[in-house]
Symmetry: C2
Subunit: 442 residues, 2 copies
């Protein structure tokens, strides 16, 4: 019994309207509290001052009902290495999350993360093994452990059980706004938060997603469901084809409410994951158009998804979309490049392409004329999140800090080869992306 | 006996110095003539006027000594489809090349290309099968066949046997300057030209490379050599990870001069290809830093090259380089992403990384401090081709139209796993790239 369906047609009239909507999503499930603290420090590797937010998610009682998945990047961060071990623990009670520095391949990175977990455990009077550490930010730098240990006690007064919003705000780095999605199921709920906004082509999970629920689902079921629902959600998006060293998705249940229908729960979990994944793209670094590629009539899901990824990761097509330029030749290039290099033997003879519902390719040739060109330009303009404005100093920044709508550039690919399909979501490649990433760290 | 070695340490004091150097490379091998013609037309798909250059490369006599390789993109252009068939012909005599429209998946694309070949054959009194068509430019549009047939006779008066420069200039699209490389071998020579400058991650060949020689090497030997030399040259570069639908590399010998040493010839061919490949990157769309990744101690060449490609194709690392920001965390991310997704099982325990000769990673952890940071910034500044200047209208364009030097951002990756190595060359990701590609066609 889903009380809430996917809300992928939201249109926001203002930043306040978006904030109001976020607040309406933010009520914590029963049995959880969140809090955060912010402080300044000097990184060891550079004399430039920096700010860090420490966020704490806690359960009122320790739970055996938890699941987590981590990045497949072969150079994972210390929190990922620890998190994998923590999957064997009997219970979890808290997640401690910092932004700014991701604690990846830093000297003594694991020992540092364990010190922070031990401090949290001391403060909450629990075991260190019940605390999951999580970090996001610059790769290569060391965590400011003394400052973090000093700041942790200051989180306790901020802990509250009403709203997940402080946590959604605390975990962001370059995100323009917090991301929250919820599903209400009977008397219970599933509430998830995510951060983006770059280095996003998750491979098994996306960077820092925390999903809380008060509905009791066994640990084994929760883990099996998570494996299934990440495939069409976090594993089907790409902002820039880069895969973070810290990708983490966690599901925690307080078990307060009996699950009346497992299928409904899984459908709800899938919806929260899919909506959060799209949120991550919509707030991707520099993203001005969300591109949704639907690949149909494929021989299997993996073939469909890989082809969709190849399209949303093709830089020239992404640039054309950024410029509201329906350069569909670059779309065909992306398909041909992928099939030629990665899917040799896939028959493209029955390939049909639509963009914004308009047929652009069939029978082996393009179907283009000046009228269609105008319609395609109109579709691209209609799906733009904001217009790029040339700055006087050359450093572009996004024109808005709320998503005005949930429209997408719609690409449909029919292969004519089978029954499988996949939806892949990505973004365009803009001056705002380059400005953000040529300057982000230094 | 190589009279000319790789000139990868050139420094140019001015645009004129670069032009003078190009002229010094441009002398045609014996037995060839080139010419071109430029005209205006209105494309069928848009009312906006466009310009096209038609270039003709001819031999004084038909030759059996030819080799060619074409793109592996699964949606190849009509000239590629025809070119593959032409490999079976007894002789070749001419190559006719147009820019602006690439003739890919256009209605009646092959018939149009054959009409143009037939007209060239009529003008030169040869067989149509001796003419190779080649096209580059917008994908999806149709060639303006009537205008092209009308323009072809006007090429004949321009044919001359002294300089390849008119052909090097005629084939460009978004290139900033023509690209020519030569090797003199005894009384003969190998001279190659190439165009870039976007959609460049060649898969078997790069977009439109023509190499002429007067040294007689059998067709079979020529083809076998070409397969070998493209691997460390054109197949080891990437500007933007996109693979053109029209990639073509052609070698034509007039056979005027006896080959005294096959190994010398192959070494010369390899040098011309490697230097042209680096030229293509150096003039890649928006490229402000050439990034040269040397992967050493790899178990095999393919592993080394794929890892190098993953680094030069990682958008976040490319942006950091553009900003002279030694964000080496993103370099490690790129390695980990590739190994996690594509090379599972590759042991990274002995990974060592240097940038600009400075050790940044060893023993599983970063080796960073503020002093090294300063040295890394200096290396990035030193290898910059030009500084980006913020324009008032937001449309970035390169600050120079000649390459001031041939320095590269030097990345060294030691895997500690074997004896194989590979060198991969790529570029950074800049505002100039986005400006060029968000606006190039419309």
């Amino acid at each position: 019994m889903l009380l809430n369906v996917s809300s992928t047609s939201l249109i926001f009239s203002s930043q306040q309207a978006h904030r109001d909507w976020l607040a309406s999503q933010a009520k914590l499930p029963d049995g959880f509290r969140v809090g955060s603290v912010r402080f300044n420090f000097i990184p060891r590797e550079t004399p430039k001052p920096a700010k860090m937010t420490l966020t704490l998610l806690t359960l009122d009682e320790s739970t055996e009902l938890f699941a987590a998945m981590f990045t497949r990047n072969a150079m994972p961060g210390a929190p990922v290495l620890i998190g994998r071990r923590r999957l064997q623990e009997k219970c979890w009670r808290a997640v401690v999350i910092n932004n700014k520095i991701s604690n990846v391949c830093a000297p003594d990175g694991e020992a540092t993360a364990e010190k922070i977990c031990a401090k949290v455990a001391e403060l909450l009077d629990i075991q260190p093994g019940e605390v999951l550490p999580s970090s996001t930010g610059v790769i290569g730098w060391s965590l400011p452990v003394d400052e973090m240990l000093g700041a942790l006690p200051n989180i306790l007064p901020s802990l509250q059980g009403q709203s997940i919003l402080p946590a959604a705000e605390g975990i962001v780095t370059t995100d323009l706004y917090p991301k929250i999605r919820r599903i209400d199921l009977g008397n219970g709920s599933i509430v998830g938060i995510a951060k983006g906004a770059g280095m996003i082509e998750p491979n098994l999970a996306t960077m820092l997603v925390y999903i809380l629920t008060d509905i009791a689902v066994s640990r084994d079921d929760l883990r099996a469901m998570l494996v299934r629902v990440v495939e069409p959600s976090f594993n089907s998006i790409s902002i820039d084809s880069d895969t973070s060293t810290s990708d983490t998705v966690v599901v925690l249940s307080s078990g307060k409410i009996t699950c009346s229908d497992m299928a409904d729960f899984e459908a709800g979990l899938a919806t929260v994951c899919r909506d959060l994944a799209e949120d991550v793209v919509r707030n991707g670094e520099g993203v001005r158009h969300v591109i949704k590629v639907k690949v149909h009539q494929a021989p299997d899901f993996d073939t469909a998804r890989h082809l969709g990824k190849a399209i949303v990761n093709a830089p020239l097509f992404k640039c054309a979309v950024a410029g509201n330029d329906p350069n569909v030749g670059r779309l065909v290039q992306a398909i041909g490049k992928h099939v030629g290099a990665q899917a040799a033997g896939l028959d493209l003879a029955r390939l049909r392409l639509r963009m914004g519902g308009i047929e652009i390719f069939a029978d082996g040739v393009f179907k283009l004329d000046p009228h269609k060109e105008n319609l395609l330009v109109a579709h691209l303009r209609d799906t733009e999140l904001y217009q790029s404005v040339a700055p006087t100093d050359g450093v572009y920044s996004p024109a808005v800090n709320f998503p005005p709508h949930e429209r997408c550039v719609e690409i449909e690919v029919d292969l004519g080869l089978g029954q499988a399909s996949a939806v892949v979501i990505g973004g365009d490649l803009t001056h705002e992306y380059v400005s953000e990433n040529a300057d982000y760290r230094s």
